[in-house]
C-alpha cells in the first residue's frame, strides 16, 4: 500500500555559528528541519559536545566525577588538554574563581587563565563567568580582550549585563551566550536587544537555562522545540543555536550524586550518574539543542556515539 511520506515545507533555517579559527573551526546550527529528520531537510552540522574545565578545584563534585581528572583539577591548562584527549569538540572554561564566595579573582587574573588555556589547546573555547552578573561583565570584558581574534563563545550574557559582554564580543570577534530563564519571549527579547547593538544574529547562542532530567527538563525541552519551530518558520530572533549546560544541572541531581549504598534500589552510581548526564543531553538533542556542555568524559563519549548514529541518513 502506497504511503506518502509526510514532509513539512519549512521556509527558513537555524542560523549557522562558526567557533574557533582555521583550520580548527567548529560549526553548529544551519538545520532546515527538526532534529535529525534527514528525510525532510538539511542538517549540515552535528550537535557538539564541550567538557568543562574550572579555574579552581571544584569542591562539590562527587568522586566519580573528579576521578577522570585526577592530578589536573588544580591546573586549568592541563585539565583543558585532558578534555581534548577525552574527545570534547570544544573546551568550556568556567571562571569560578571570580566568584566573590570563592577567590574573588580579578578580571586580569581570569583573563590570564583564559589566555593560557586558549593557547594550550587547538579546539575552540567557550568561556563562562562565575554567574554573578556584574562580576561576569567585568571579567568577560578583559577575557574577550585577551582572546582577541580567537572567535570564542563567551557568556553568560543576561538582561542585566549583555551590553558590556556584547560590546567586547563585537570588538574582539567573539560570539555570545544569551541566557534567559525558561521563557521563550524573554529569550527572544534578549536576542533582539543584543542584535540591536549590531552583533550579528549568527553570533548568538541561546541558553534557556535548562533543567536536568527529573528537574524540569520538560520546560526547556518545550521551549527548544518551540524555538526550533519558530526558526524554521522564519523567526530570525529564535533561529540561534541552543547551548545546554547539561553537566552543571545533571550533576546536581540526587540521582547522580547518591552513592551506591544510599539508595541500593537505584543501581550503581557511576552508571546511573553518567546516564543522567547523557540522557539529559540526548533528550535536548531531540528538541533542538546544538551545544552540550558536559562534565564527565564518559558522557562525552556516549553522547558523541549517539549523535554519530543520529547523523546517519533516514531519508526514505
Amino acid at each position: 500500500m502506497a504511503v506518502t511520506i509526510a514532509k513539512e515545507k519549512w521556509t527558513s533555517k537555524v542560523s549557522e555559528m562558526v567557533l574557533g579559527t582555521e583550520p580548527n573551526t567548529v560549526k553548529v546550527g544551519g538545520e532546515s528541519t527538526l532534529p535529525f529528520l534527514h528525510f525532510e531537510g538539511e542538517i549540515p552540522n552535528r550537535p557538539i559536545t564541550a567538557l568543562e574545565v574550572w579555574d579552581l578545584e571544584p569542591t562539590d563534585w562527587p568522586d566519580i566525577l573528579k576521578k577522570p581528572f585526577e592530578g589536573v583539577l588544580n591546573d586549568p591548562v592541563a585539565w583543558a588538554k585532558k578534555n581534548v584527549e577525552y574527545g570534547a569538540d570544544v573546551v568550556a572554561l568556567r571562571l569560578m574563581s571570580a566568584h566573590p564566595d570563592y577567590k574573588n579573582a580579578t578580571p586580569d587574573e581570569c583573563a590570564a587563565t583564559a589566555k593560557a588555556v586558549a593557547d594550550a589547546v587547538n579546539v575552540p573555547l567557550i568561556v563562562i563567568g562565575c554567574g554573578v552578573e556584574d562580576k561576569d561583565a567585568e571579567v568577560l570584558e578583559k577575557v574577550g580582550e585577551a582572546l582577541n581574534g580567537k572567535n570564542c563563545l563567551i557568556g553568560c550574557a543576561t538582561e542585566k549585563n549583555y551590553k558590556t559582554i556584547t560590546a567586547t564580543a563585537m570588538v574582539n570577534g567573539h560570539s555570545i551566550i544569551a541566557s534567559s530563564p525558561l521563557d521563550i519571549n524573554l529569550a527572544k527579547q534578549l536576542n533582539i536587544l543584543v542584535t540591536e547593538m549590531n552583533l550579528a544574529a549568527n553570533r548568538i547562542a541561546i541558553d534557556p537555562l535548562v533543567g536536568a532530567l527529573g528537574y524540569g527538563i520538560e520546560y526547556a525541552y518545550s521551549i527548544m522545540e518551540r524555538a526550533r519551530l519558530g526558526a524554521l518558520m522564519g523567526d530570525k530572533m529564535l533561529a540561534m543555536p541552543v547551548i545546554c549546560f547539561v553537566g552543571q544541572e545533571a550533576w546536581k541531581a540526587k540521582e547522580a550524586k547518591s552513592p551506591d549504598d544510599e539508595n541500593p534500589e537505584w543501581g550503581a552510581q557511576e552508571r546511573r550518574a553518567i546516564l543522567w548526564e547523557v540522557i539529559t543531553a540526548t533528550t535536548f538533542a531531540q528538541a533542538g539543542g546544538s551545544i552540550f556542555v558536559l562534565r564527565h568524559p564518559e558522557s562525552v563519549k556516549e553522547v558523541k556515539k549517539h549523535i554519530d548514529k543520529m547523523m546517519e541518513s533516514n531519508a526514505y
Binding site: A6, L37, S222, A268, R272, L275, H306
Partner: protein, 439 residues
C-alpha cells in the same frame, strides 16, 4: 472531530425531514461538526454513512488496552506532535524482556522490583515481555506460565511462530496479553489467534508501506504498530511518520506503536529508549533490568508526559520540617513541587528544623515565577501575613532564594520582616544556615 459540516452533510440523506429537530440536514451537519448534536438523532442515516462518519470522528490514534485490572496499560488517543500544543495522553509503556531460555522466575522477580518513588508518587515499569528465544513452543508456554505466576504486570508474548503463540495463549490468553506478533508470513494465523482471545496484536512490516498493507489486510482493530526499524535514526523517522500520518487521518497508522531498544551497546540501548519515549513510542521494550538504566527512563517519561499546561504544584501553606520552634529559620520558595521538594530535601539533609513557605506561583519555579510576576514581594507578604508564621516564630526573618535577591528591599518594606538572601541553589542551604543563621 476533524470533519467540517459540509463533509458531514454529504453523508446525510438530504431530505430535510426535520426528525432530528433541525430545520435542514445542513443545519444538523453544522451542529454535528461543532459537537452539539450526535449522529443518533438522525433516524434515517444509512449504515454505510454511519460507519464513514464514525471512523472519521474516531480519535486519530486508537485507544488500545493491554492486560486487565489494576495494572492494565492504556495506549493511544494521542492528538499532537508536540507536547506544548496539548499534552501527550498516555505515557510510553516500558516492557522488560525475559527470554524463555533465562531463569524466568528470578528475572521476573527482579522486574517486579523496578518501582521508584518520586516526589511522593510511585512509578514503575508496565509490562513483562516473554521472548520465545528458544524457538520451542513448549519452553515458551512454560516461561509464559512462570512469568504470569510471578508478576501482576501484563505480558507481551513475543514469538512469530503461531503454534508457539497458540500454546502461550492457552495459558495467558484470558488476561488480555499483547500478542507480538504478526508479520507478512504469519498474518492470518496471528489475527485468527488475536480474534479468538480478543487480545491486542502487534503487526510488523518490513517498512512503512508493508506495515500499512498488513494493517489493511488484517481487518483487525486492536493493533500496535511496528515499522520494522531497529536503528535509532530510522526509528525516529518512522515514529515521526506514523504520528504525522495518524494525525492526517491515514487510517492504517492510527494505532499506538512499539519500539525495541535492542542496541547491542548497553548504554546506547538506554539512550535509544530515551529517544523513543520522547518521540511517540507507545511501548519501548528494554533488554535490561538494571535499575540504573530504568530509573532515568522512567523519570524521562514522567517529565515528557507531564501536562505542560498544569505544572505540578504543592499546596501553598505553612510546612514544618523536623521539629521547628520559635527560633527556627523560615524559608520562602514557590509551590512548584520540584522547587519545594528540593528545598525540603536539602533542609532535611542539613538536619535543620525549619518552616517552609511555598508561595502560590501556579506551580512555577523561582526564576520563572519571578520573571512572570507571580513570585513578588506582594504575594510573599500576603502569605507571610496569612499563614500564621508570625505566631510560630519569635524572630522576624525570612530567607529568600538567592536567585531573586532583587526582591529583598521591597519585601522588607512591605512585610516588615528582615530579609536574608539565601543561596541560589537549595543545595547551599545547610552551609548557609551554619554560617549565617541566628534568630
Amino acid at each position: 472531530m476533524g470533519l467540517t459540516g459540509l463533509e458531514i452533510f454529504k453523508q446525510l440523506p438530504k431530505t430535510n425531514c426535520k426528525d432530528c429537530g433541525q430545520p435542514t440536514c445542513l443545519a444538523f451537519a453544522m451542529q454535528l461538526a461543532s459537537g452539539k448534536a450526535s449522529l443518533d438523532q438522525c433516524p434515517h442515516i444509512s449504515d454505510a454513512a454511519r460507519e464513514a462518519l464514525d471512523s472519521a470522528s474516531a480519535p486519530p490514534v486508537a485507544l488500545v488496552k493491554i492486560g486487565k485490572g489494576e495494572k492494565e496499560l492504556q495506549l493511544g488517543n494521542e492528538t499532537v506532535l508536540f507536547r506544548h500544543d496539548k499534552r501527550f495522553e498516555h505515557p510510553t509503556g516500558i516492557a522488560i524482556a525475559v527470554n524463555d531460555t533465562d531463569a524466568v522466575s528470578d528475572k521476573v522477580q527482579q522486574i517486579n522490583k523496578l518501582v521508584f518513588d518520586r516526589v511522593g508518587q510511585v512509578h514503575n515499569v508496565n509490562l513483562v515481555a516473554v521472548v520465545n528465544s528458544s524457538g520451542d513452543a513448549g519452553k515458551f508456554a512454560d516461561a509464559v506460565k512462570t512469568a504470569q505466576d510471578n508478576t501482576d504486570f501484563p505480558l507481551v508474548l513475543v514469538s512469530e511462530d503461531p503454534a508457539a503463540m497458540e500454546k502461550a495463549l492457552e495459558i495467558a490468553g484470558a488476561n488480555n496479553p499483547l500478542i507480538c506478533g504478526a508479520n507478512a508470513s504469519n498474518l492470518e494465523a496471528m489475527v485468527e489467534l488475536a480474534k479468538k482471545y480478543d487480545a491486542p496484536l502487534v503487526i510488523k512490516g518490513a517498512n512503512l508501506e508493508e506495515l500499512a498493507s498488513l494493517v489493511e489486510k488484517s481487518g483487525y482493530k486492536k493493533l500496535i504498530l511496528d515499522s520494522g526499524a531497529r536503528e535509532v535514526n530510522k526509528v525516529l523517522a518512522d515514529q515521526t511518520q506514523i504520528r504525522r500520518q495518524a494525525l492526517k487521518r491515514f487510517r492504517p497508522f492510527g494505532y499506538p506503536t512499539i519500539t525495541f531498544a535492542d542496541n547491542p551497546d548497553p548504554i546506547q540501548a538506554v539512550v535509544d529508549a530515551g529517544v523513543y519515549i520522547a518521540k511517540y513510542a507507545g511501548i519501548v521494550v528494554m533488554y535490561t533490568d538494571n535499575p540504573a538504566d530504568i530509573l532515568p527512563l522512567i523519570t524521562l517519561r514522567l517529565n515528557i508526559y507531564t501536562d505542560p499546561q498544569k505544572p505540578i504544584a504543592v499546596e501553598s501553606k505553612l510546612y514544618e520540617v523536623g521539629n521547628p520552634g520559635p527560633d527556627s529559620p523560615v524559608f520562602v520558595t514557590t509551590n512548584f513541587s520540584l522547587t519545594y521538594f528540593c528545598v525540603q530535601g536539602d533542609v532535611e539533609a542539613g538536619r535543620i528544623d525549619a518552616y517552609i513557605l511555598p508561595v502560590d506561583t501556579d506551580g512555577i519555579s523561582v526564576l520563572t515565577g519571578w520573571a512572570a510576576g507571580k513570585f513578588t514581594p506582594e504575594k510573599i507578604t500576603e502569605m507571610v501575613n496569612n499563614c500564621g508564621i508570625a505566631d510560630k516564630v519569635s524572630h522576624r526573618k525570612l530567607i529568600i532564594p538567592g536567585g531573586v535577591a532583587v526582591l529583598s528591599g521591597k519585601l522588607q518594606e512591605l512585610s516588615g520582616w528582615e530579609v536574608l538572601v539565601g543561596p541560589r541553589e537549595s543545595a547551599g542551604i545547610p552551609s548557609f544556615i551554619k554560617q549565617r543563621w541566628s534568630a
